[in-house]
C-alpha cells in the first residue's frame, strides 16, 4: 500500500485544506523548523492510529496535550480532517479521518463510515511506517524494561509480552485470589505456629515444624512424645488427646466457659445458597407462577364441574325413568330431553379439559412442599452460623474482665458483632416468617381451590425481600469472620495464660489440627511454586525475544548501520542486541541490552558509550530494519528529520540508505529542515526524479507549500553531455542519459508554460500527447515540436523495456541538441 496524496484541514499546523501529491518512489519535503513539516507525518499517523506517538508517549491525561490536534485558527463550524488516497494494486482507496469532540476520530473508507480501517486485524501489531526522531530516542534512551516492550512491539511480539505480564501478575498478586476458607486455614496455622514458638517447653517441636513439609514426620513424632509426657503413663494412645483436653478444660473452665465462634460459609454452603436462591427466584417466579395462574382459571370453572356432575347424575337417573324428571317425577317432552343430553355432552367435554388442569394442582402442591422444605433448610443454614456467637451475649461482662483493657479492641469487635448479627438475624427471621405465612396462604388457596393471583404475587414479592435480607446477612457475617476469629485466638491465649495451660493448649491444637497443618503446607507449597512458574514464563519469553533480536534483527540492523558508518569513524560501534543475564547465566526478564564494541573490546552498553550521532544512526537502522521485516501492509516509510547531529560525511552516507530503501520497493517520504542536505539528496538520487516540495512560508492559514523541480535542467543536460563525451560509457549509463533528457524536458516545460501563459503548471508524469499539446499551445514551431515529442516518447522507460533495446549514442546526441533548442525558448 503506497500513498498517492494527502489532504489536511484544521489539523496541527494546517488550517485551510492543503493537498500534497506523493511520488511513488521518493518525495522530499523541506521546511525550516515550525513551518508545519512534522504536521504532515503526524496527520498521517493520527489518521492510521487515532493518536500520534508524541501524544501517546506523553501522559495523555496531561492537560497540555488536550485539544492539541485541532488547529486553533480553524473556524468553529468546520471539522478538522485528514484524507489520504492510498494505492493498492493500482486501486485507489480513500481513508478519511474526522476529528470529533474529545479527540475522537471518525473513520470513512471511500466515503463510507467504518469502525476500523480495513488493513490488518490489529494495526498495533505491525511496525509503524514512521521513522521519527522522538520515537527513536524513546526506543534507545529509555530503560531496558521499556526498551524490551518497545522492541516487542516493533517485532510483533506483543502477545508474548502480554502473556508474560499476565503470568507475573498471577504469580505475584496471589493474596486477593486465595479463597476465604483457604486463607482462614493459613491464618489459623500461622497463629498456632506463633504460639508454638512462644513456648520454651516445646522448642523441639518448633524446630521440626520450621522445616515445613520436609519436617512433618519429625514434628508429628515430637508432638506425640510431648503429649504422652503430659498424661499418666498408662494412658492408651487413643485416650491421650481426650486426656489432654480434659486437663485443659478443667483448668480453663474455672475462668471462663465458651468460645468466640463465627464460622464463614464454606464453598459448598455458598454453592447451596446460590442453588436455593436460583430455585426461589427462577423456578418459583416462572414455572410456579404459570401453573398457579392456570389454577386460578381452573377455580373459575369449578361451578361448571359441579353442573357437569349434576347433569351426569341426572342422565343416569333419566335412563331409568325415560320421559320423566328423575328429581320431581313430572313428564318432560322430547325437546327437553334432547336439551339435557346436549348440555350433558357439552359439560362432559369441558370436564375432560379441566381434568388435565386438575393434575396441575397436585404438581403445585408438590412444588410448594419443596419450596417450604428448601426455605427451612436455607434459613437453618443461615441462622446456625451465628448460634454460637450469639450464645455468648449473656457472658459478655465476664469476657470483658478477661480481655479488657489489654484487648479492648477485640472485645469491642465481639460486642459489636454480637449486637449487629443479633439484629440481622432478627430481621432475617421476621422476613422468613413472612415468607412462610404467605406460602401457607398460597397452600390453603390451592387445597381449598380458592386460587387467587394476588396471593402468589405477594409471595413472590416477600420472597425477593427475604433473599435480599439473607444476602445482606451473609455479607455481614463474612465481614466479621476474620476479626471474630482473631478475638477467639486472643481469648484462648488469655485463658491459657490465666490457667497455665498454654503449652497443653498448643499440643492439643497440634494434635487436633494435624490434618489442617498438612493442608497448610501443601497450600504453601503450591503458592511457593508460583515463583517457578513465573521464572519459567520469564525465561521462555526472554528466549523468544532473544531469538528475534539477536539473530536476523541484529544482522539486518548491522547491515544498515554499516551503510552509515564512515571510514574515518573511531572504531566505537554498535555490536548487536542481547538480553541481560544473571550471574547464574539465566536470562533476565524484560531487559534488552544494546551492545557496543571499541576497537574489538566489549563496552558496558551502547547507550552509555555511543555518541548521540551514532545512537541516532542506530535508532534509524532499528526502525528501518523492523519496518522491512515481517508482514506489514505499508509499502511507504515516512522519515522525519533523520540527520540531526550528524556531520557532512554521515549525511552523505544516509543518502545511499534512502536510495536502497527505494530500490527495495519502499515509497520514501523524507522531511528535513536542512535545505543543503535535501539538495544533496536530490543530486544523489537524481535519476529517481521524485517530487520535491519546499514550505516557503507560514501564516495563520497554514504552510505555503511549493513544488520545486527535482534538479536544474541545465545540470541534467551537462550530465548528458559528459556521458556523450565519455567513449567508455556503458549501455546502462547511456540509458541514464536518455532518462535525464526526458526529465530535463519535464523541468523545462513548466518554465516555458509559465513564460508563455503566465501561470504555474505541474509537469509530473506527462505523456507524449500532453507534451505535444503543451508545445502547440506555447507556440513552438512544428519541426522542434515533432523533435521534442519524439524525444519524450522514445526516452520513456517503457520504451527502453522493449526486447533488445540498445541506446544509440547518435540518437542521444540529437535528443540532447533538440532539448537545448527547447531550453533556448526560455531566454
Amino acid at each position: 500500500m503506497k500513498i498517492k496524496n494527502i489532504t489536511i484541514r484544521g489539523f496541527r499546523g494546517f488550517n485551510e485544506a492543503r493537498m500534497i501529491d506523493f511520488d511513488d518512489r521518493l518525495t522530499l519535503i523541506c521546511a525550516p523548523n515550525s513551518y508545519g513539516k512534522t504536521s504532515i507525518s503526524e496527520a498521517l499517523e493520527w489518521l492510521l492510529y487515532g493518536v500520534t506517538s508524541k501524544v501517546e508517549k506523553a501522559d495523555y491525561s496531561k492537560e497540555e496535550y488536550k485539544g492539541s490536534y485541532r488547529n486553533r485558527h480553524l473556524p468553529e463550524s468546520l471539522t478538522p480532517f485528514v484524507k489520504v488516497t492510498f494505492l493498492e494494486d493500482r486501486n485507489e482507496i480513500e481513508f478519511r479521518g474526522e476529528l470529533e469532540e474529545g479527540e475522537i476520530i471518525t473513520r470513512f473508507v471511500n466515503g463510507r463510515k467504518v469502525e476500523s480501517w480495513p488493513l490488518v486485524e490489529d494495526l498495533s501489531k505491525v511496525p509503524k511506517p514512521f521513522v521519527l526522531q522522538h520515537a527513536l530516542q524513546y526506543l534507545l534512551l529509555t530503560g531496558p524494561d521499556e526498551r524490551f516492550r518497545e522492541f516487542a512491539r516493533l517485532l510483533g511480539l506483543e502477545e508474548l509480552v502480554q502473556i508474560q505480564q499476565n503470568v507475573i501478575s498471577l504469580c505475584t498478586k496471589t493474596d486477593p485470589h486465595i479463597p476465604v476458607e483457604v486463607e482462614q486455614l493459613r491464618r489459623n496455622i500461622l497463629a498456632l505456629e506463633a504460639r508454638l514458638a512462644s513456648q520454651p517447653s516445646l522448642t523441639a517441636i518448633e524446630k521440626a515444624f520450621r522445616k515445613g513439609k520436609d519436617g512433618l514426620a519429625k514434628t508429628y513424632e515430637a508432638v506425640a512424645s510431648e503429649c504422652r509426657r503430659r498424661v499418666p503413663p498408662e494412658t492408651e494412645e487413643e485416650s491421650v488427646l481426650p486426656q489432654l483436653l480434659k486437663i485443659r478444660e478443667e483448668a480453663v473452665a474455672k475462668i471462663f466457659q465458651g468460645r468466640i465462634t463465627l464460622p464463614d460459609y464454606s464453598e459448598r454452603e455458598k454453592q447451596a445458597n446460590t442453588e436455593d436462591e436460583g430455585f426461589f427466584l427462577d423456578r418459583m417466579a416462572n414455572a410456579f407462577v404459570k401453573k398457579y395462574t392456570e389454577l386460578v382459571a381452573l377455580a373459575t370453572v369449578q361451578h361448571i364441574l359441579d353442573r357437569a356432575e349434576f347433569f351426569d347424575l341426572g342422565i343416569r337417573l333419566l335412563d331409568k325413568t325415560p320421559g320423566k324428571c328423575p328429581f320431581c317425577g313430572q313428564s318432560i317432552g322430547d325437546a327437553l330431553v334432547k336439551h339435557i343430553h346436549d348440555e350433558h355432552a357439552s359439560l362432559a367435554t369441558e370436564k375432560k379439559r379441566n381434568e388435565a388442569l386438575q393434575n396441575q394442582r397436585t404438581e403445585i402442591i408438590n412444588l410448594l412442599a419443596e419450596l417450604k422444605s428448601r426455605l427451612v433448610a436455607y434459613q437453618t443454614r443461615h441462622t446456625n452460623k451465628t448460634v454460637q456467637l450469639l450464645a455468648l451475649e449473656p457472658s459478655l461482662e465476664k469476657l470483658k474482665t478477661i480481655l479488657v483493657p489489654k484487648h479492648q479492641l477485640h472485645f469491642n469487635t465481639v460486642k459489636t458483632a454480637i449486637s449487629e448479627l443479633a439484629n440481622a438475624k432478627n430481621k432475617l427471621e421476621t422476613s422468613h416468617s413472612k415468607v412462610l405465612e404467605a406460602l401457607a396462604k398460597v397452600e390453603t388457596s390451592v387445597t381449598e381451590s380458592k386460587e387467587n393471583a394476588a396471593l402468589v404475587e405477594t409471595l413472590g414479592r416477600i420472597l425477593v425481600e427475604y433473599i435480599a435480607q439473607a444476602r445482606s446477612y451473609v455479607q455481614s457475617i463474612s465481614g466479621k469472620v476474620t476479626a471474630v476469629s482473631d478475638a477467639d485466638q486472643i481469648l484462648k491465649h488469655e485463658l491459657d495464660a490465666l490457667a497455665g495451660t498454654e503449652d497443653i493448649s498448643v499440643l492439643i491444637d497440634l494434635r487436633e489440627r494435624w490434618h489442617d497443618i498438612k493442608k497448610k503446607f501443601e497450600i504453601e507449597g503450591i503458592l511457593e511454586s508460583l515463583k517457578h512458574l513465573r521464572k519459567a514464563a520469564e525465561q521462555y519469553v526472554a528466549n523468544k525475544v532473544l531469538e528475534a533480536i539477536s539473530g536476523e534483527l541484529t544482522s539486518e540492523v548491522m547491515e544498515w548501520y554499516g551503510q552509515i558508518k564512515t571510514t574515518g569513524d573511531p572504531d566505537v560501534h554498535f555490536a548487536g542486541f542481547d538480553i541481560e543475564r544473571t550471574k547464574e547465566g539465566d536470562l533476565k526478564a524484560r531487559r534488552v541490552q544494546i551492545k557496543a564494541k571499541s576497537y574489538g573490546e566489549d563496552l558496558v552498553s551502547a547507550v552509555s558509550s555511543l555518541s548521540e550521532s551514532k545512537l541516532n544512526a542506530l535508532g534509524l537502522c532499528v526502525s528501518i530494519a523492523t519496518n522491512l521485516k515481517g508482514r506489514t501492509p505499508f509499502e511507504f516509510l515516512i522519515i522525519d528529520d533523520p540527520i540531526q547531529s550528524w556531520d557532512a560525511e554521515h549525511e552523505i552516507q544516509f543518502i545511499e540508505v534512502i536510495r536502497r530503501l527505494v530500490e527495495q520497493g519502499k515509497q520514501v517520504i523524507l522531511m528535513s529542515h536542512n535545505k543543503q542536505w535535501i539538495k544533496q539528496v536530490r543530486s544523489g538520487c537524481r535519476t529517481l526524479n521524485g517530487w520535491y516540495y519546499e514550505i516557503t512560508g507560514y501564516t495563520k492559514a497554514g504552510p505555503q507549500i511549493c513544488e520545486v523541480p527535482w534538479a536544474e535542467w541545465a545540470q541534467r543536460l551537462q550530465e548528458v553531455d559528459a556521458i556523450l563525451k565519455d567513449p567508455t560509457a556503458s549501455s546502462a549509463t547511456q540509458q541514464r542519459a536518455e532518462a535525464e533528457i526526458r526529465i530535463a524536458i519535464e523541468d523545462i516545460m513548466p518554465e516555458l508554460w509559465r513564460k508563455k501563459k503566465g501561470v504555474q503548471r505541474s509537469c509530473h508524469k506527462l505523456n507524449s500527447r500532453e507534451v505535444r499539446k503543451m508545445l502547440l499551445e506555447c507556440g513552438v514551431d512544428q519541426p522542434l515540436l515533432d523533435h521534442i515529442t519524439q524525444t519524450y516518447e522514445t526516452t520513456d522507460p517503457a520504451h527502453h523495456a522493449q526486447i533488445n533495446y540498445e541506446p544509440n549514442r547518435d540518437r542521444i546526441r540529437s535528443y540532447h541538441s533538440w532539448t537545448h533548442e527547447l531550453a533556448q525558448l526560455l531566454s
Partner: protein, 60 residues
C-alpha cells in the same frame, strides 16, 4: 481440546503451547491451560482458587 495442549489458531495459542511444553508441574500446566478469553488473568486466578480449594478438601 486435549488435556495437554491448547488449540493452535493464533500466536497466543502457539506461545501458550510452547510454554506448556516447558512446564512439568501439573499445577502450573493447569494454570496456563486456564489462560483464555478476554480476561486471562481473571481466568487463571479463578483456576488458582479452584486448585487451592481442592488442596484444602483433598483427602489423603
Amino acid at each position: 481440546m486435549s488435556e495437554e495442549t491448547i488449540s493452535q489458531d493464533s500466536p497466543r495459542e502457539k506461545y501458550l503451547n510452547e510454554l506448556l511444553a516447558e512446564l512439568s508441574d501439573p499445577v502450573h500446566k493447569r494454570l496456563i491451560q486456564a489462560y483464555r478469553g478476554d480476561n486471562p488473568v481473571q481466568s487463571m486466578e479463578s483456576e488458582l482458587g479452584k486448585i487451592l480449594t481442592e488442596a484444602l478438601h483433598h483427602e489423603d
